[in-house]
Amino acid sequence: MAETVNILGPARNRVDGRLKVTGAAKYSVEFQVPNCAYGWTVESNVAKGKILSIDTKSAQAAPGVLAIVTHLNAPKPKEPAAKKHRGQTDGIRNEERVPFSDDEIHYAGQYVALVVAKTIEQARYAASLVKVSYAPEEPLLTMNAAKSSATKPKGSFGPVQIKKGDVDLPLKGTSLTKIEQIYTTPTETHNPIEMSGTIAAWDRDDKLTLYDATQFVKGVQSVIARAWNLPIENVRVICPFVGGAFGCKGAVWPHVFAAAMGAKAAGVPVKMHVTRRNMFVGTGHRTPTTQTIALAATRDGKLRAMRHVSHIATSPVGDHVESCGARSTGMMYESPAIQVEETLHKINVASTTFMRAPGECPGTYALECAMDELAYALKMDPVQLRLTNYADNHPVKNVPFSAKHLKECYQVGAEKFGWAKRNPQPRSMRDGDLLGGWGMATKTYPAHKMEAAAKVMLRADGSATVQCAAHDLGTGAYTALTQIASEQLGVPFEKVKFELGDTDFPFGPVAGGSNTTGTVGTAIHEVAQLLHKALADLAVKDSESPLYNLSSNDIAMIAPGHIGSKIDNKKSDAYIDILRRAGRGSIEVQSELKEPEENKKMAFQSFGADFVEVKIDPLLPRVQVTRVVSVINCGRVVTFKPARNQIIGGINMGIGMALMEATEYDPQTGLPATRNLADYHVVTNADAPVIDVTFVGEPDFAFNPIGCRGIGEIGITGAAAAVASAIYHATGKRVRDLPITPDKLMDIA
């Protein structure tokens, strides 16, 4: 344990914990705006076709109704966020179409009208009176049905199609051990506790305030400002708390446009709750995937070829590409030949989007299951197979990983779990009448760097406020960023106030790609340097300061609350004394927004390993995960408790993916059938095992000055594969079609 301690920051309690448990933390739709009306949508119940007519007469006459927006009267945005503006700072759309822009229906559940009324009940009732008639067309509801129009997408944050060496020869040859299997995952839908929602309030015709449940306030600001052709500063987006997101609040979805349109049409602010039911159509979901993996290895387990062919989907108006292969097989193991192919199908089902570890999550599920199958084909221990193909260099980019401690993850994990006692024979490890199984898998997630700036105000009483338009999705970002600010500024933790979630603050990136802590942390690092410089500038001009007349370039923070000479360590001055003598109540500095430098000589990627135990009653075969050991290397862990939470949450979500999560669609109408929390199963406490989390490695200062690579998404990767492999070990049956519900294990008895 000793060697792992140095990567761990202090185990802080959440700075916003008290606000949350007392209900004082205000979420987006909880804001009270005077004269606010409510919006309720009417959705299409056909999956493809055209709207013939919309009869709003009785709805219009219903009590409290202020406006009804349809494609016939929608106050349309001028320019629906043209693609060319895309970039890290310009906001994200995963559905190209602005709602109510025409009479086309692309998927069941598409919003076709918005009713605005004085109360939410009135809006809901009036919405039920809107009669829409359609000219339905035959929809394409499955990837198979949409095969003929499928395309090969080029890129999505990096290449999606990869070809290194020749995979065909080894895969066709007879001298190698080979496996080739198809793995499928269903549509999975984000179910954060807080559903999406927006309050839109216009001030005259050209100023808009949005209280929006979002992972990207600056992105919403940019998309909406461009859509309505407004100066960017005329749109303000506020979001101090997010009750979970998992990716569904990263893009700007139709309800945000709808709220702004409804407010314009009704002439009053409009509040829109996306219902749990509409979270299954209106804010994205993870694409279903069909992934075929072929592996060829020598007798001693050395990979000679890896092929990963994935089929993914989105709606006809969607553009999300789930890069399954590139983000797993494309970087995981040493192999002379690697081929990754991705095919995108446009189907008449709502648009897809990022969901926790988009690409890596389904990708590692398939790859790590295939590796387990290969281990059995080779009669080799699954950990040993991974070690045999260990990649010190990124196998495609061919540059070294900055700091990869995956061997340590395997070793520490195996030891803690007791892996050495594993009898590899399926069905050999019984526990009374129960079948027991152990499985493992590698976890991985890349380190992403984005743009951010920060502002700090240091006061003469020694307290500081730091601002950045960043986000806390419930992840603990408030706490981690307060911790970083405390360290970087040299101000006690209790005296730092971190503010986020407001476009009035300096630029913060999308809370996606596990980048917040590293990216915003870097901005805090930069603004701290500026603060220390500004304090030095005051001190060197002050004859009473021990630093008088020194060059401010020779001065830096030497201890918390103190700057001093880098040359003569006896010369120092306290922040509060500098400000007091200067007669300043406070000092304020702000860092610049600039594109981060890319270090192309290294690959920055986090790794980990999960070891999982399952128990199964062979006759009534519901799988119970009883124990998980997870070891992670993600650079520095800024504050231990929220970080551990993230891994535990990610693994539980992976268990849900393995065992129960699935959005099922009606094969006739294309409407989701399981679209509430009773029918769409996520893990409950009773399903959640004890999860032992360990962090190993060292701070990754080659990546950023904070030394951290992010932690939000790696937790879910690999987890489903470890569970599926444990199920094979327990039962002798490979189920390659998630989720592994009892009906798929009826034949193990």
Partner: protein, 330 residues
């Protein structure tokens, strides 16, 4: 949600007066099912008669050792924890605790639980055009739709929905009697006659009349019900409706089965009293062989659909397991 009026009843007479005069009035108990369905636009009462203030929450012994009476407003949590139920009818306590979540059980009432409606997706969400239960004559969306949670016994071409209640399964095994009251008087309905199979009228769930108030559920004295058990098989460890469930009580003397009570949940439009299995068990030596044979007999008539055929074998195994569990009780 449709506009409706709200009345709070202070006694059963007042409550039933309201339903006698307004055919589209409904009683409001815990509201955990009714309010949900009203929001979805499935239930559209014009009046809610709140019965929560009626003094019908008692759980007490019936005179002369005739069993136990559970008031219609007794909350699921209170029934599940009550000593009379825990000691004499453990199957009912277990069934209640296997349902929903603690928060829901604290609100849910005995009367409301009896009348909770199916969780069939096609019924619950009016976006689906077809549902004979919600909209008679529109067809059954589940028949050729996603039908993993649907019926395998007693269904019709008109409807393959299941009754989702856990409590009802235990009540069926225990031969409970539902006490009802209306402006016209009182009557008793044996549980077997309370819920209906779908036939050609799946829109009618029960034989209760719209104006009738459930006042209590009586459990007859069944000495061997102390040896009873509820087994629920579901997709996750808690907070999920049953894929299949089994309520069992056994009277075993010297290894021989004198009497058996078996009911199945999650398989039919009503809690399914397994009479064929019971008949097959009586007189047999308690053991896996007899249990499996009884289960086979009961499910011989079962019919599955695209996504739910696994339930047939699962139900058999659950029966064997539940029977074995009770047989092994001392």
């Amino acid at each position: 949600m449709n506009p409706f009026s709200y009345t709070r009843a202070t006694d059963p007479q007042q409550a039933t007066q309201a339903t006698a005069t307004n055919a589209s009035a409904k009683f409001l108990a815990g509201g955990t099912n009714l309010i949900d369905l009203m929001k979805m636009g499935v239930e559209r009462p014009t009046q809610l008669v709140d019965v929560n203030r009626l003094s019908l929450a008692q759980i007490e012994e019936l005179p002369n050792g005739c069993g136990v009476r559970i008031g219609a407003l007794a909350r699921n949590s209170d029934v599940a924890q009550h000593p009379l139920i825990v000691q004499r009818y453990p199957v009912l306590s277990q069934a209640l605790l296997a349902g929903a979540s603690p928060q829901l059980r604290n609100l849910a009432t005995t009367g409301g639980n009896l009348l909770q409606r199916t969780r069939c997706y096609y019924f619950y969400d009016p976006a689906f055009p077809q549902c004979n239960k919600r909209n008679p004559g529109s067809g059954c969306g589940a028949l050729n739709g996603f039908n993993r949670i649907h019926a395998i016994l007693g269904q019709s071409e008109q409807c393959i929905a299941t009754n989702p209640s856990d409590m009802n399964v235990a009540l069926a095994a225990l031969d409970a009697v539902v006490q009802v009251q209306s402006a016209k008087g009182t009557r008793s309905i044996p549980i077997a006659d309370f819920h209906r199979l779908p036939g050609d009228t799946p829109n009618v769930d029960t034989n209760l009349q719209a104006d009738e108030l459930i006042t209590a559920v009586d459990l007859p004295a069944i000495p061997f019900a102390t040896r009873s058990h509820y087994l629920k098989v579901r997709d996750r460890a808690s907070y999920a409706f049953a894929l299949v469930s089994v309520a069992v009580a056994l009277d075993v003397q010297n290894g021989r089965i004198n009497a058996a009570r078996v009911a199945l949940g999650g398989v039919a439009h009503k809690a399914w009293r397994a009479q064929k299995a019971e008949a097959a068990l009586v007189g047999k030596t308690a053991g896996e062989k007899a249990f499996r044979a009884a289960a086979e007999t009961e499910l011989a008539a079962a019919k599955g659909y695209k996504h739910n055929s696994f339930k047939i074998e699962l139900a058999k195994r659950a029966m064997v397991r539940a029977l074995s569990t009770v047989a092994q009780m001392t």
